[in-house]
Symmetry: C2
Subunit: 126 residues, 2 copies
């Protein structure tokens, strides 16, 4: 059985044990618990932790941001509201026939979808 305790997990993921607890509290990664309540990090969690590290470092985003993204993906109502707001008027408010941004938005989404479908390298684009 390959489940590491918090300290071991900390070492192999480059996070501190403290941070691991914090990350859990932020709802980002919640490891299973042993009967006695010990956190048990499986290979999946470990990988995710490493990826998270990179994600956060590379794009300079906060854990809170990731948490928000998670919330966005869970709460569709929120996602819809935010999306609608963002889609509203990126440039000129008055010179965009209020029927166009919808198309534009869908466009965005399909792009994202395409990206997700090809979850391969991502990148290639900047």
């Amino acid at each position: 059985m390959d489940a590491l305790t918090i300290q071991e997990a900390a070492q192999t993921t480059e996070w501190s044990a403290r941070m691991l607890r914090y990350i859990e509290q932020a709802g980002l990664i919640e490891p299973q618990r042993s009967d006695a309540g010990y956190r048990l990090y499986g290979p999946g969690e470990l990988q995710r932790l490493r990826t998270l590290r990179e994600l956060v470092a590379q794009f300079d985003v906060g854990l809170g941001d990731i948490g928000f993204a998670m919330r966005l993906r869970r709460d569709e109502e929120l996602a819809g509201a935010v999306d609608a707001w963002l889609a509203a008027e990126p440039q000129r408010p008055d010179d965009v026939p209020p029927a166009d941004w919808l198309r534009w938005e869908q466009d965005k989404h399909s792009k994202l979808l395409a990206l997700a479908r090809a979850t391969t390298p991502a990148t290639t684009h900047a």
Copy 2:
């Protein structure tokens, strides 16, 4: 010409002038400027400001969160990365054949898309 100065805009949107500047600084709403550099809020901005207020209040999100969402929609690389991370293992890491979450993800996205398409109600909802 229906462009309000910051103070007027503040009154009709229920934000303080201070906040209007802050919101601009956060990149959320950047009004045009007069020759002398005065901020000029058009009807579009005003509406957006009101909507923003509701959005923030109703869902209890921070301006920073909205900013992040904006960033997500602009930076596809980031969006892809975050999305991939989030899609990874919401429940069990080990009992999900690493080919399923992709379908699940697309599902999520299409739902979102549908929601966006029907961008009707927006406000008044909860």
